[in-house]
């Protein structure tokens, strides 16, 4: 390790000659250093040697990564975010329009309901009206029919009475004729005539 870090330092000083020195130095590297950990026999610790820890290269590569990666990843993420935003916005718009349509339809439903209620009430009313009208009419008809019937009855009674009278009269006449035929001989006739004359004299 010591030789390696010494090499590194000297390398740092002659850095402008890098291309020329690589070959030379490459062969000179104490290769057993490759068996990592040979020099690390101690416990835990920190090693702040810039070159040993490859810190400069790491910082550079992290810097490059952050510099380019930030743009790329940032763009991708921003795109994703805006896509999600757009999707959410679209969905929300759709929800809004759907709820507006729902409200409208609900209003229509309420309207239709009141309309239905109105129609029903109208129907009830007209039914009531029709009912009363029919009732009245029927009652009037009833009265009329009753009157007609009673009239009819009276006239029938009169007719029957008349007929009865006629029949009775006819019968009476017939009976009387019978009686006359049977009971009216010349004596009785004589007597009757005298009686009648007598009553006429008075």
């Amino acid at each position: 390790m010591p030789s390696a870090s010494k090499f590194c330092k000297s390398f740092w000083e002659v850095f402008p000659l890098v291309s020329l020195s690589i070959v030379t130095f490459a062969a000179r590297v104490p290769m057993h250093w490759l068996l990592l950990g040979e020099a690390e026999e101690g416990g835990f610790g920190l090693n702040f040697s810039l070159l040993d820890t490859n810190l400069i290269n790491l910082v550079i590569i992290i810097g490059v990564l952050v510099y380019f990666g930030r743009g790329l990843v940032g763009k991708t993420l921003a795109e994703r975010r805006s896509q999600i935003e757009a999707a959410i916005k679209e969905v929300e718009d759709r929800k809004k329009s759907a709820s507006a349509a729902l409200a409208e339809e609900q209003q229509k439903l309420a309207q239709a309901k009141t309309e239905a209620e109105r129609i029903r009430q109208n129907a009830v009313e007209s039914a009531e009206r029709a009912r009363t009208a029919i009732l009245e009419e029927t009652e009037a008809e009833l009265v009329r029919m009753q009157e007609a019937a009673s009239q009819d009855i009276t006239s029938q009674q009169e007719r029957i009475a008349r007929e009865l009278r006629e029949v009775i009269a006819a019968r009476a006449v017939a009976i009387a004729e019978d009686r006359l035929k049977s009971g009216l001989n010349s004596d009785a006739q004589q007597q009757l005539v005298e009686q009648s004359i007598a009553s006429l004299r008075g």
Binding site: V29, E40, L51, E85
Partner: protein, 255 residues
């Protein structure tokens, strides 16, 4: 003369016992008879912590229109979900999103932590901190979990009928299918481990040779391959799970 030294070094390697060919020493924790690679645990905990904190921050205050970290994590989740859906299929993918997502996120953050976090700032008693996935034990664990997962998926979906998969489309395939069960975790673990370790070694060697600026392209390439490896592992895991659940009976038209 200069050339001789590396060659000597190479011959030196061959004399070492096999275990020493593992790169670096390990910071061993002894638990019972087990020797644990402590540095892997430390970095794994770091990665797990990062993920948990990110998940916590992202879900702490969830807005309807996501911003900041919530937006970012949702984007990651969408990515994982699409990946799982693509490999497993619309019908079955849902329960497997957490598994595939955990694999992807853990491997991805592990790989990138190895490439971006200056672990060498911290010295530990043995070995050094690096990406957890550069240790074969981690990747083998992940690969075996994947194997368990696809067996579980297959048996849950089809019961013993899962073994029918082994003779599809022709019974001739049986030995190959059996071999596949062993090669799948093998290839998964070695691919990931090899790539990440190679990455870190290349960077380490280059840093050793030329400490400044020259390793930068390799490091950038490392970032790229690290991400790709995470993607490959997650995609393959999802593909294996999807394959285990695939319908062979009458489902051919859906392919």
């Amino acid at each position: 003369m200069y050339l001789a030294e590396p060659l000597n070094y190479l011959s030196h390697i061959h004399h070492l016992p096999i275990a020493e060919l593992e790169v670096g020493k390990h910071f061993y924790w002894q638990i019972g008879n087990l020797k644990l690679h402590g540095q892997v645990f430390l970095t794994s905990w770091f990665v797990i912590g990062v993920l948990i904190i990110a998940a916590f921050l992202a879900s702490r205050r969830s807005d309807r229109i996501p911003s900041g970290i919530q937006n970012f994590m949702e984007y990651a989740l969408e990515f994982i979900r699409d990946l799982a859906r693509g490999q497993i299929g619309e019908k079955e993918y849902r329960p497997w999103v957490p598994f595939v997502g955990t694999l992807f996120l853990f491997i991805f953050v592990s790989n990138w932590s190895g490439a971006l976090v200056p672990w060498k700032l911290v010295e530990i008693p043995g070995g050094e901190l690096a990406a957890p996935t550069s240790d074969i034990n981690t990747t083998v664990a992940l690969a075996l979990l994947t194997s368990l997962a696809y067996f579980y998926a297959g048996f849950r979906k089809k019961g013993l009928g899962y073994f029918g998969n082994y003779v599809q489309p022709v019974p001739f395939m049986l030995p190959f299918k059996i071999i596949e069960d062993f090669t799948k975790p093998l290839s998964l673990s070695f691919r990931l481990f090899g790539n990440i370790l190679a990455d870190e070694l290349v960077v380490a060697v280059l840093v050793l040779l030329v400490p400044l600026f020259v390793p930068l392209p390799v490091m950038a390439l490392g970032l790229f391959t690290s991400a790709i490896q995470a993607l490959i592992f997650a995609t393959l895991a999802a593909a294996y799970i999807g394959e285990a659940m695939e319908d062979h009976g009458e489902g051919h038209e859906e392919h």
